[in-house]
């Protein structure tokens, strides 16, 4: 395991974008009036290729589309719920639909996965994005768990034609592992731990909770839980994931988004359907309502049953005869 240095995904991402901007003079960075100190560095280094379009997410997407049609690679940067929901139809029409006919390269980089903006209230929380972005054709949906993954995603994706949404956490987090390999990125998932009995299949911040739960399971129950990090919801190699889960008696999915609403749990239920008789499955995620209560992210998660102890408990229950 790498050291427990905590970093922000957006910083790793922006550093990788900055490097790419040096290599690719076509790359333009658009922000909807959202920034960070690392972004200031980018903006100062490439003032001609950093454009703040203002608090106008619809136009963010449309300008990105126009630039992309003219051959620019574009990064469009904003707070995750606004980037995905305020301009959903712009993403649909001018990116997903248009890129089916004309080649375009646009990376939608959203910050604030799940509850990561914990004191800013539900408008700032991205609870629907995994589900709704997965619905759009021709769109990659990436959900890294750590900075190392965000960095290689940027390195991998920015040079490629295509449209993709990158869901980044808002908080400082330790890396969960060494950076994923290109092959792992391509299939959309990787094993963080091998195990037996139960597999915890998690995405984003829940990967951290899954690892904590796996520790608890090992310490308290003697169960070696496997942990899979889902880095991409689309494209996700369902065949490979199905094969990886073959023979596993119990699978828990973990997402910081509404559960039972077309996100990770739905993807897994589809993949696991053929072995449903042999494999027990339970999808864990956020219950289907908004929360106005204030509290640290982990206490918010614990309040809805997503603390590490609770996850471990669910795993035990799922394994029970």
């Amino acid at each position: 395991m790498p050291a427990l240095i905590k970093t922000r995904m957006r910083d790793a991402f922006i550093v990788a974008v900055t490097e790419r901007m040096a290599a690719d003079p076509s790359l333009i960075f658009l922000s909807a009036d959202f920034g960070s100190p690392k972004l200031d560095i980018l903006a100062q280094r490439f003032p001609e290729r950093f454009i703040n379009v203002g608090i106008a997410e619809q136009n963010l997407i449309n300008v990105a589309a126009g630039l992309a049609l003219e051959g620019h690679a574009v990064v469009a940067y904003a707070i995750a719920p606004f980037l995905t929901m305020r301009c959903y139809e712009q993403v649909r029409v001018n990116l997903c639909l248009l890129s089916q006919v004309r080649p375009m390269n646009v990376t939608l980089a959203g910050v604030g996965a799940g509850y990561s903006y914990d004191v800013s209230g539900p408008t700032h929380q991205a609870l629907e994005d995994l589900s709704i972005m997965r619905v759009l054709p021709n769109l990659g949906v990436y959900s890294p768990a750590d900075s190392a993954t965000a960095r290689v995603l940027a390195q991998q994706l920015l040079p490629e034609t295509g449209i993709r949404y990158l869901r980044m956490d808002g908080k400082e987090l330790p890396d969960v592992a060494e950076a994923p390999t290109v092959a792992e990125l391509r299939q959309g998932f990787r094993f963080l731990r091998r195990g037996q009995g139960v597999t915890l299949v998690a995405t984003g911040y829940m990967v951290h909770k899954a690892l904590e739960a796996a520790d608890l399971l090992a310490q308290q129950q003697g169960v070696q839980a496997a942990v899979i990090d889902i880095m991409a919801l689309s494209p996700l190699d369902g065949q490979a994931l199905g094969a990886a889960l073959a023979g596993c008696p119990a699978v828990l999915s973990l997402e910081e988004g509404f559960v039972g609403k077309g996100g990770l749990d739905a993807a897994l239920r589809e993949i696991l359907w053929p072995v449903a008789g042999q494999t027990r499955f339970k999808g864990l995620g956020l219950p289907h309502h908004y929360r106005f209560d204030i509290g640290g992210r982990d206490s918010l998660l614990a309040a809805v049953g997503l603390g590490p102890e609770q996850i471990a408990g669910q795993a035990v229950a799922l394994l029970a005869p």
Binding site: N59, N62, A65, L67, L69, H72, Q90, V93
Partner: protein, 319 residues
């Protein structure tokens, strides 16, 4: 590269004066020689009368398409006929029918896609696709749908959802500006389309960035779908609005080629320090009395018999 121009409907012939001539005065249309090597829309220089004849032909073809495909939005498609004819035949737009995405083209985004069926005969006439395709509009297997899409050679973007074109045009204009291209971006919108907030985000952006290579043509037929725009949500005073957002604004009769062509032509050749809007005051369902008279012309079809009578009659006098 242009194919010959077969006439599905007989064209009126006019005396040969140069395009842009107003009254008796002869105004030579600027030919952007050498501006871009390989300027490819080698449409012969047209007289005003020829432009008018072309507009008449496009108007007729639009009605004929509607006769075959009543799903098409005919009233919406008749108001921008003259603007489109000016752009394509009036030596304004640079384009290449055999290479629709030719780098040296000017970009035309038809944001009011539903109301641009008049562009089908123009694109066919110019050789973007065979004229015979006009027979297939809305038929299975055709690429010419009720609302044009970028699968049609000559259309840049996805149309059908209103309010997107100007923002996309801003991105294109910015890109062209960055590479010092002399190409322009033209965006055609409906007046009702200006209700959409996304358009105002783009208007604000273009004004701020002084996108002088961007032109907005407002097909100001003063109606949206259910009623007159003034009754639904008024846009007046439109010119003042746009000016307050940093745009240069011009306004003229959108059906009078003698007024419209010089304006568009001047916009197309003069470098501007700010985005330019041309408010083309038009009539929805222009030339079709039943459409002109109805506030819900948007959703009306013209019966085949009425189209036949109109085509037999005199277009210019129809309103």
């Amino acid at each position: 590269m242009r194919t010959a121009v077969p006439c599905v409907v007989a064209q009126a012939s006019g005396t040969r004066v140069q395009a842009g001539s107003e009254g008796g005065r002869r105004i030579r249309v600027h030919r952007p020689e050498g501006r871009v090597p390989g300027f490819r829309n080698d449409v012969p220089m047209m007289t005003l009368a020829e432009l008018q004849a072309k507009a008449r032909w496009v108007w007729q073809q639009t009605l004929l398409i509607h006769k075959r495909a009543p799903e098409t939005r005919v009233a919406s498609s008749l108001s921008p006929v003259e603007a489109l004819v000016c752009l394509y035949y009036g030596d304004i737009l640079r384009f290449s029918p055999k290479e629709p995405l030719w780098e040296g083209r000017d970009r035309l985004i038809v944001s009011k896609g539903h109301g641009s069926i008049a562009l089908y005969p123009i694109l066919a006439d110019l050789g973007f696709f065979p004229l015979s395709e006009l027979e297939q509009v809305c038929r299975p297997g055709s690429f010419l749908g009720g609302i044009p899409d970028p699968v049609i050679p000559g259309y840049e973007t996805v149309n059908g959802s209103l309010g997107h074109g100007l923002g996309v045009g801003c991105g294109m204009a910015l890109a062209l500006q960055r590479r010092h291209s002399s190409n322009r971006v033209w965006v055609l919108v409906g007046d009702g389309e200006l209700h959409e907030g996304a358009v105002w985000e783009a208007i604000m952006f273009a004004g701020h960035h002084r996108l002088g290579n961007l032109t907005l043509i407002v097909d100001n037929n003063s109606r949206c779908m259910l009623n007159d725009t003034a009754c639904v949500v008024t846009l007046a005073p439109l010119a003042e609005k746009l000016k307050a957002f940093g745009w240069r604004v011009e306004e003229c009769d959108g059906h009078d080629l003698a007024a419209l062509h010089p304006r568009l032509s001047a916009i197309g050749r003069e470098p501007a320090g700010q985005p330019v809007a041309l408010i083309a005051n038009t009539i929805k369902g222009h030339g079709v009395p039943s459409l002109e008279a109805s506030p819900i012309s948007h959703v009306l079809s013209v019966p085949a018999g009425e189209i036949d009578r109109l085509l037999a009659g005199d277009y210019a006098g129809a309103h």
